[in-house]
């Protein structure tokens, strides 16, 4: 009888436990000075100056860390820790006037020596800054006085002020820099509180923030990491998170429609979904083949099929967020008949076979499948080979250029210059593009730069070194009463400074 009793007791105990747990209150009503944001990916460390993953900046940039300059919600460069600057006639000397009265969260005073430390750390021999190339024209850093910082450049660098605004250019303290990966210390409106690895990062309002007019309105903010789209949707609906600024699954967006508490906000990210080609490899070395492949693709259909109709079709490597954007989807519009003619001209009248290395992400897999069907219409057979992103893709495609075609979303803003990099996985060489990109660096006039960016976009649209598909939408889902989040994402971020709850 003993065992039976044991099981009987266990069953009763289990039942009681289940009932008790079911009835227990699990979510207190959120006080209106706190926000919980959901993110798909947990950052790999919290120092944006030593690792590339965008999730790091999405937690820390403008919340914990600030830069000499910053980027506003419209994508424009604005002063931040540098309140003003002067650029010499030849464009090779930048003199920054630093803001007085700025301190780091640990009390360290921000002045020109700290700024010099941060810049030297990013450009030095042992630097592991993911964007170290953006500092390569800086030859010397001078500090004539505590509030003045002078950057001496080897050549004019028109994008410098923009690059200095990036998360990877954040100003870090001399005492705290080494520990920023685990306990970030910056000058921003929020201080770091705690990181429960695998679960959440907690921030609190910085009471000593230098900009009293723009101090944070929230008392606390929590970033929660939820990778599974179904779990993301469930967390939103159950009120466990207040906002998902970048919801992961477009096909689940409809499920929020009937919800009175939530609002969906569709914007643009900087993620350009492009099918890159190895321009050094046959048949992709022939521009006519690339153009034919471009014309075989109906971008609207791709957006519809792969991403539930969300996303903006593009005709070049540029997003509507950025200055000088031109809609170039009309340069090689969907026209399978013309595509066949071009292939014939290029000597591929009977079509050919290619292999696309498509990463495991949903957007890449789905887009590749639709492309496969569309290429078949012009007699081109495409095999899909799934690869693992980032690890395997980086070593096979990016580093070794061992591929014909691939597909990936380029997340870095305004990165047209990747087509001029040598080596880079496109293996694309076009002196006229390089010339335009050089001119962009020669000027600091933003209108002139915008015009040049338009020119660069047109060159790429005509020459099609990669198949330009669409800009990944920013699928925002959040509580209707939550205000101040960015609609678009001109740089990967979750800026909380202006976020507040409406009564």
């Amino acid at each position: 009888m003993r065992i039976r009793k044991l099981f009987g007791a266990a069953a009763v105990f289990g039942g009681v436990l289940f009932a008790a747990l079911s009835a227990a209150p699990f979510a207190e009503a959120a006080p209106k000075t706190s926000v919980t944001l959901g993110m798909s990916i947990e950052p790999a460390g919290l120092d944006p100056t030593i690792a590339a993953p965008v999730a790091i900046g999405q937690v820390t940039w403008q919340n914990i860390f600030e830069g000499l300059t910053t980027i506003d919600r419209n994508g424009a460069v604005q002063p931040q820790l540098a309140e003003s600057w002067e650029i010499s006639e030849d464009g090779k000397t930048y003199t920054f006037k630093l803001r007085p009265g700025v301190t780091f969260h640990d009390g360290e005073v921000f002045d020109s020596s700290v700024a010099k430390f941060a810049i030297d750390r990013a450009r030095g021999a042992d630097s592991v800054n993911p964007q170290k190339r953006y500092f390569q024209t800086i030859e010397g850093v001078e500090t004539p006085d505590a509030q003045t910082l002078v950057l001496k450049l080897s050549e004019p660098t028109g994008s410098l002020l923009y690059w200095l605004a990036w998360p990877s250019s954040s100003m870090v303290g001399t005492k705290s820099a080494d520990n920023n990966k685990t306990t970030p210390v910056g000058t921003g409106p929020f201080t770091f509180v705690d990181w429960s690895k695998g679960e959440k990062v907690e921030l609190a309002r910085n009471p000593n923030y230098w900009n009293k007019d723009e101090a944070a309105k929230l008392e606390t903010a929590v970033f929660r990491f939820i990778s599974e789209p179904q779990a993301q949707a469930a967390a939103l609906k159950a009120g466990d998170v207040d906002a998902f600024p970048e919801f992961a699954a477009p096909e689940l967006m409809e499920s929020f429609e009937g919800d009175d508490r939530l609002v969906t906000v569709i914007g643009d990210t900087e993620m350009k979904v492009v099918a890159g080609m190895n321009n050094a490899r046959k048949p992709f070395d022939d521009a006519r083949v690339r153009q034919a492949l471009m014309m075989a693709l109906d971008r609207n259909m791709i957006v519809e099929g792969a991403w539930s109709g969300y996303g903006t079709p593009i005709g070049s490597h540029y997003t509507p967020n950025d200055p000088g954007y031109v809609d170039l989807t009309g340069v090689y519009p969907y026209d399978p008949e013309k595509a066949k003619v071009l292939l014939e001209e290029a000597g591929y009248g009977n079509g050919f076979t290619l292999t696309i290395k498509a990463p495991q992400m949903a957007y890449a897999q789905r887009t590749a499948q639709i492309m496969q069907a569309m290429f078949a219409q012009i007699g081109v057979t495409m095999n899909i080979e799934t690869t693992e992103f980032p690890a395997k893709w980086v070593s096979d495609v990016l580093k070794a250029s061992d591929y014909g075609m691939t597909i990936v979303a380029h997340a870095e803003p305004m990165d047209v210059d990747i087509y001029a990099r040598d080596p880079y996985y496109f293996n694309y060489k076009n002196p006229s593009l390089n010339e335009v990109l050089d001119k962009i660096q020669q000027t600091t006039d933003s209108d002139e730069q915008a015009a040049l960016y338009a020119e660069a976009q047109k060159i790429l649209a005509k020459d099609v070194p990669a198949l330009y598909l669409f800009v990944m939408p920013k699928l925002g889902v959040w509580d209707k009463k939550l205000k101040g989040l960015w609609e678009n994402e001109p740089i990967p971020s979750n800026v909380l400074r202006e976020v507040y709850w409406e009564e």
Binding site: A44, A51, E199, A231, E388
Partner: protein, 316 residues
């Protein structure tokens, strides 16, 4: 008994050393450079080299293995590439989720499987038996993560009784923490329970036809008494054997279920570390899993001896 444990311990250490070498070699064969993953698509070769130096990845293979394993033997599991904190601490933190989750799942699956299996065996081909059979078919066919999604839909989204996922941490109170683990534990337990139910039913059925059970009945013991007091204890060896196997499967199941329920457990740590090529975390976690399986098997073997007097007699 003591000599048995000593022998087991020696073989445990040897197995773990061999396993560690295997793990290390497999990790090294994985395509992808951890430094390149961390520095992304824009990194220049000199930055990559600097990071490889910093992580010690520029050293030759045997040196890296010796560095790792000598650290492990001294209790230093190394520092995570991505998190920047000691791996030992990460594992302990994650165990605070995975161990209670596994324990709850085991408890639930036993609570379901043993009574159901025994009752089904008693009423062979009856209504209870058929129902139990149906349950176990469904349970075996349904994967744990899908069941997890269904449970979330029903209990969190529709009824709002349970959180949809995530873990508040033990500091938020044991009740809240257990509540967060309940649905995932059920999702993990049901498929396990299904298998265990069938094994229990078969084992008890076989024992029921044995003479000593008939004797017990002939003595005048009620049918229930004969089954629960005589047949079940005698059927425990196969049940424990399968249970031991299943417990190790819980580890694999935890990877998926922890992802569905967004629980910061060991399974999710392993999954994340793999995708980010946090090789040192991968090595440590896999080694830990291996140790867990070996210890589990050892415990199961001890359990045989406890429930089966004949084995005890043979050993001594």
């Amino acid at each position: 008994m003591a000599s048995l444990i000593a022998r087991r311990l020696v073989s445990l250490v040897v197995t773990l050393l061999v396993t560690s070498l295997l793990i290390f070699l497999v990790m090294d064969l994985l395509p992808g450079d951890p430094a390149a993953v961390m520095l992304g698509t824009s990194a220049s070769p000199d930055t990559l080299a600097a990071l490889q130096r910093e992580l010690g990845l520029d050293q030759p293979l045997p040196l890296r293995y010796l560095g790792w394993i000598s650290g492990v033997l001294q209790g230093d599991l190394g520092t995570s590439y991505t998190y920047g904190v000691p791996v030992a601490g990460l594992i302990v933190e994650r165990l605070a989720v995975t161990l209670p989750l596994a324990a709850m799942a085991i408890l639930i699956s036993l609570m379901i499987a043993v009574p159901m299996g025994v009752e089904a065996a008693r009423r062979q081909k009856g209504l209870v038996d058929l129902t139990v059979g149906l349950f176990s078919y469904i349970g075996i066919a349904v994967p744990a993560f899908w069941l997890g999604l269904l449970l979330i839909l029903l209990f969190a989204t529709n009824l709002g009784w349970m959180p949809a996922g995530g873990f508040p941490g033990w500091e938020a109170g044991a009740l809240l923490a257990l509540q967060a683990l309940l649905l995932p534990a059920v999702a993990l337990a049901l498929p396990q329970a299904a298998v265990l139910t069938r094994v229990t039913r078969a084992a008890v059925l076989e024992t029921l036809s044995e003479d000593f059970v008939r004797t017990a009945r002939a003595k005048g013991l009620g049918e229930g008494g004969a089954v629960w007091r005589h047949a079940l204890p005698a059927s425990l060896v196969p049940i424990i054997a399968v249970f031991g196997l299943q417990a190790t499967f819980l580890v694999a199941g935890a990877v998926l279920v922890e992802n569905v329920f967004n629980l910061p457990g060991l399974g999710r740590l392993a999954y994340q570390a793999l995708s980010q090529r946090d090789v040192i975390v991968m090595q440590d976690v896999v080694l830990f899993f291996a140790a867990l399986v070996i210890v589990m098997n050892f415990l199961v073997e001890l359990a045989y001896i406890l429930v089966d007097p004949r084995l005890r007699a043979e050993r001594s």
